[in-house]
Symmetry: C2
Subunit: 349 residues, 2 copies
């Protein structure tokens, strides 16, 4: 069952729906008490492998906030685990890889992913699409560079020094690694689209740590291959592309990467982002998540400013400029959804 | 004793010395074995309070690399400790504040700084200037926003959520805090200049986490006050202004802040940075520190590219786009110094 056209899909495709659509990165997660109850005693990765739990958690913010899209509850390292990488998500730390990727021999631990590795994802997406009705489901995956950074560093890292050492020091192995990850990430998106997801988001969370020249030459081709695989499965399904601190990469992350929507970090004013991304690509963003902790008049003013800045875009999906922080107040998120929905997109204050 | 004119000072002032000057942020520190020996058994902050040790450590990279400037060995939280804030630098973590800044009452714990709080700095700078001869000494301080972020968060933080909550939630207290820190930071620079430092660098390490509008309205005025205090003490001493990930702030960090040189993060190509900063301000930067771990041909190509990109600047001081990482090979840094010195600034490969 394919969802009906929606404000979210319309904006992604470059038209101006009657209301600006809104969803929040990491909307399903720790900021919701019903999420914390659902997860009690169950590890993060285990919860992602149980379709009934994935379904429940994915629906929570849709019911609570009335957002215009659901995003599959999952984690970007899940497909790595699915093909056999020994990893864990350590609370307060993030993904930790038992044996980090260091040599060509490590490629043997990265077989191609196919649908049989992730039957629980097919199940969860199928169930969700049936339950969501007109609300589109966004599938997602981590981009090859970001997945590589976890594999090479062995866990979260501020500077990605080892990852860049591999990129610069062994370009052949780097390309082989990104090619492999591109298959995994692309096939993982394809599985979600085949099961009925209406759109996908490719998270290149840490691409913003790269010099633009390295992004274009050594990273972008692999991300473009991921999005091409998604496009081959479902040409009409919007492809969103996001990373943190990517102000200097925005010109590459849209059309050159094969994306139809570019997610924008809060550091770049949205109208400036529109200029960098170009005229034929929609934008998504970009409220600073830290503003969620500000008094409502500040939140309101920032939301309205972003709506004005987005009014000149090819299409605008309202979102945060990064994920919902654990300490966010769900009532503030609800008020933002209502404010975005109640504001005529091209209004001036 | 004021140092003689130098390639470093000339480039900061917008002229083209015969060779491009070079120094490295955090050049005195963990990457040097002689540093690790000097520090054995002595805590970071304790070492910063011993003039003979500060002198020894500050000179180490000058002797080893032949860099065109020394930078005072210290830490940006030192002046906070000097006025009485209970803090420690925890290895592997960073600065940790015993009682974070949360309410207006906490302002009482931030008295004005004067020279009597930091006699060891006056001593170290005086000794260093005598020993350095023609090599200029750069004094430095943390900018009010970055100091505030440590005080408010209580330690390092990726998102500075509490700091931004204070900025948005209590603008009056925020301004009082930044005014207080501006006095401390500015007086700390003034003391270093009065003792003979030839230039200063203001580190607003975490300003790149801000939306540009907040930087301009709530942070820039305090940094400008710091640099104005330095300029009042010694109008001829160059004032360098640096932060990580500040691509969107570069237009504000130069002339509007009262800086004569803007330090550029590696994420922005240097020629693009020059455009954003404007025609009458010198630039410093901007090799990605991660490139230090790459094979020499890659390092060489990046260094030469940066020299070409900097050739159009008002003045160019070669540096990294962030500090020297602990794992950097001193021999690579030495080769970079030689390469920069041996390359005619406007050469094409």
């Amino acid at each position: 069952m394919t969802p009906q056209p929606s404000p979210f899909l319309a904006a992604c495709r470059g038209s101006r729906p009657e209301r600006t659509p809104v969803w929040f990165m990491r909307q399903a997660g720790r900021s919701l008490p019903e999420y914390r109850r659902a997860r009690e005693g169950i590890s993060m990765l285990e919860s992602c492998r149980r379709p009934e739990l994935v379904t429940q958690i994915t629906l929570q913010p849709v019911h609570r906030y009335g957002v215009d899209a659901a995003i599959l509850y999952s984690d970007i390292v899940l497909p790595l685990q699915a093909v056999g990488i020994d990893l864990d998500i350590v609370p307060g730390v993030g993904p930790v890889i038992a044996e980090p990727f260091r040599t060509r021999g490590d490629l043997d631990r990265l077989p191609e992913l196919d649908a049989a590795h992730v039957p629980f994802i097919t199940q969860a997406v199928t169930d969700l699409v049936a339950l969501l009705g007109d609300v589109p489901l966004i599938g997602f995956a981590g981009a090859p560079f970001t997945l590589a950074s976890y594999l090479v560093e062995g866990g979260p890292s501020r500077d990605l020094t080892r990852t860049k050492a591999l990129l610069h020091g062994d370009p052949g192995l780097w390309k082989s690694l990104l090619d492999r990850l591109s298959q995994i990430s692309g096939e993982y998106l394809r599985v979600q689209l085949a099961a009925g997801a209406s759109a996908v988001q490719l998270f290149d969370s840490w691409a913003g740590t790269l010099e633009p020249v390295d992004y274009r030459d050594r990273v972008l081709p692999a991300s473009a291959a991921v999005l091409a695989r998604a496009a081959a499965e479902r040409p009409d399904a919007p492809r969103i592309h996001f990373g943190v601190g990517t102000g200097e990469l925005l010109g590459s992350m849209g059309r050159p990467a094969g994306a139809s929507v570019v997610g924008v970090d809060f550091r770049v004013p949205l109208d400036e982002a529109v200029r960098r991304i170009g005229p034929d690509t929609a934008v998504q963003g970009n409220l600073d998540p830290a503003v969620l902790l500000a008094p409502w008049p500040v939140v309101r003013e920032r939301v309205l400013r972003i709506l004005r800045q987005g009014a000149g875009a090819h299409g605008h999906v309202f979102n945060l400029g990064h994920g919902v922080p654990p300490g966010a107040d769900p009532q503030v998120l609800k008020k933002i959804v209502d404010l975005v929905h109640d504001t005529v997109p091209d209004a001036r204050e």
